[in-house]
Amino acid sequence: MKPFLSSRVSVVLPAAALLLYPLILSGPFYLDIGVTFLLAAISASAWNIVGGYAGQVSVGHSMFFGIGAYMPLLVYTLWGWPPIAGIPIAIVLAIGLAVIVGMPTFRLTGHYFSMATIAVAELIRIFVGTWDLVGAAIGLQGPARARGWWDLTFRSEIPYYYIFLAVLGIVLLTTAMIERRRFGFYLRAIKASERAARSLGVPVRQTKLQALALSAAFTAVAGSLYVIKTGFIDPDSAFGILISVQMLIIAALGGAGTLFGPLVGALILIPLQTATNSLFGGGGSGLTYILYGGIIVFIARFEPGGLFELWQRVAPRLRKRLHAA
């Protein structure tokens, strides 16, 4: 019997759905969810490169997101440049930071990397909160009204939606390409057993660093997109631990180390988050994080492979039953 869904259909169908979504559900509420979903999917996919494929679990990816979020508004505030000009600077800085964090910790076991990422992200958050040049605790603000199209300040959400969708496409294409190349095999070998990978001649440290640098660059872009849309940033919404948590949980829920895992995770979590926020009100957002914590523990305990692996296990059985009927 042929597979339930051929692989080409499983790519074309979601792509078409994402392209048509703003035309079908065009209300501002749905557009907002759509844009939030895309942003979450971009950052979780970026995290996935190092956290999922290479198995190096970062719990401080907000440091890259925050750099990406601050630079566009910083170049605008300091020199009046269009915010978009800050993106390349942010990418370079994020890669530099990735090397600084990765170089020492990748010599050691994976736990060191996790501890270092959480500490560095926190260090930067506190530091930025005291630094007047970058607005200290208050943060920075972008152009209130567009001076030209290059400021990327739109009234409607639709341009943002398609820009974000294009970036998501680039991130996923890059990941898909990595999956098939030698680099992707290196990453999975490292994840399975670092010692075995090294003994087979995989340049372990170098590969891990490259994965982290690539992941950091994409995460910085996600931060830039976020701030270009919202127009303001403060230390907590850029470098806060909950920013890192969201990337982690979305990728892990869908399936860390799979191409579409982060998409599936975002598809479930973002509507859930919107629902809990509107159900419990803004002040009850603590409940959202209790739920997050519960989901993370649950995944770790019962489905460390995420929904993707669960689906792979369940699907053949379903197919058999379908076939029998």
Partner: protein
């Protein structure tokens, strides 16, 4: 004189850092496992102390014992229901499990106790005493002294008793320990109980001298990482020295640079350590 005051205050706080960090290092030494929820255990210890004082009007011995016991039980429960199952799983599951637990405990505490700062009623351990020209709050002095005694006791328990030898045997070689008739699962559960219990006592001691809110768990968790990284992963004695050093550095940098910089200096030290001496002062990789 102010300088002496700052130094002594820092060392007393550092003693408590040493106590809860020794719990973290014990788990690392036993099973190569980092508990991201360790700071939350300290935070829970603080609230247990508060509830015991408010509801049962218990004095310091009562609420410290209550915090120790309840966290000991919680630690064993968490090991049996969660850690035991993820420990042989992928790295992602190991890190996710306690990281998720930390979020769960932190935000449940926010939900129940709100984000406001609280402190124990003044009557518990009030007053200050004058010692060689400096003024010390009695609560800080008692808390620091008790913390040092308990950390040293934990070290002695591990190195001088049969139960300690069994714990270390499991840490050294699980299979060989099993052949000697030691049940590794039981020893690891005990280690989790001791680890969480130490955090709980440290929390109750902190509660006598300092105000807090549910977010302290995150700060103390990070402090414990730094202490363990400095003292060496798996070394209780190392975390005693490192705890005192970190407490001292924090107090000194808060006094001379300003309160905001105390955390920046400590986390910066952590990053520098990872670069220069990842095995810590007394540890080995």
């Amino acid at each position: 004189m102010v300088a002496v005051q700052v130094v002594v205050g820092g060392l007393l706080l550092g003693a408590i850092y040493a106590l809860f960090s020794s719990g973290l290092t014990l788990i690392w030494g036993m099973m190569n496992f980092i508990n991201f929820a360790h700071g939350e255990f300290v935070m829970l210890g603080m609230y247990v102390a508060l509830l015991v004082v408010l509801w049962l009007h218990g004095g310091p011995p009562v609420f410290i014992a209550a915090a120790a016991l309840s966290l000991f039980v919680l630690g064993i429960g968490i090991y049996l229901s969660l850690i035991r199952h993820v420990i042989r799983g992928p790295m992602l599951a190991q890190i996710l499990s306690t990281f998720g637990l930390a979020l769960l405990l932190r935000y449940t505490a926010f939900f129940i106790f709100s984000a406001n700062f609280v402190s124990l009623p003044q009557t518990t351990l009030g007053g200050t005493i004058k010692l060689g020209g400096i003024f010390l709050p009695v609560a800080q002095l008692v808390a620091g002294a008790v913390a040092i005694v308990l950390t040293v006791s934990l070290h002695l328990l591990l190195t001088r008793t049969t139960i300690g030898s069994r714990l270390l045997a499991v840490a050294e070689d699980r299979a060989a320990a099993m052949l000697m008739g030691i049940k590794p699962d039981r020893m690891q559960a005990l280690a989790w109980g001791l680890s969480a219990g130490a955090a709980g006592i440290a929390g109750a001691l902190l509660a006598t001298a300092y105000p807090w809110s549910p977010s302290v768990g995150e700060t103390f968790g990070l402090v414990a990482f730094v202490v363990v990284a400095l003292g060496g992963f798996g070394s209780v004695l190392g975390s005693l020295y490192a705890g005192l050093i970190i407490g001292l550095i924090q107090a000194v940098s808060a006094y001379w640079l300003g309160p905001i910089y105390k955390d920046i200096v400590v986390y910066g030290l952590f990053v520098a350590l990872l670069w220069l001496r990842p095995q810590g002062l007394m540890g080995k990789v």
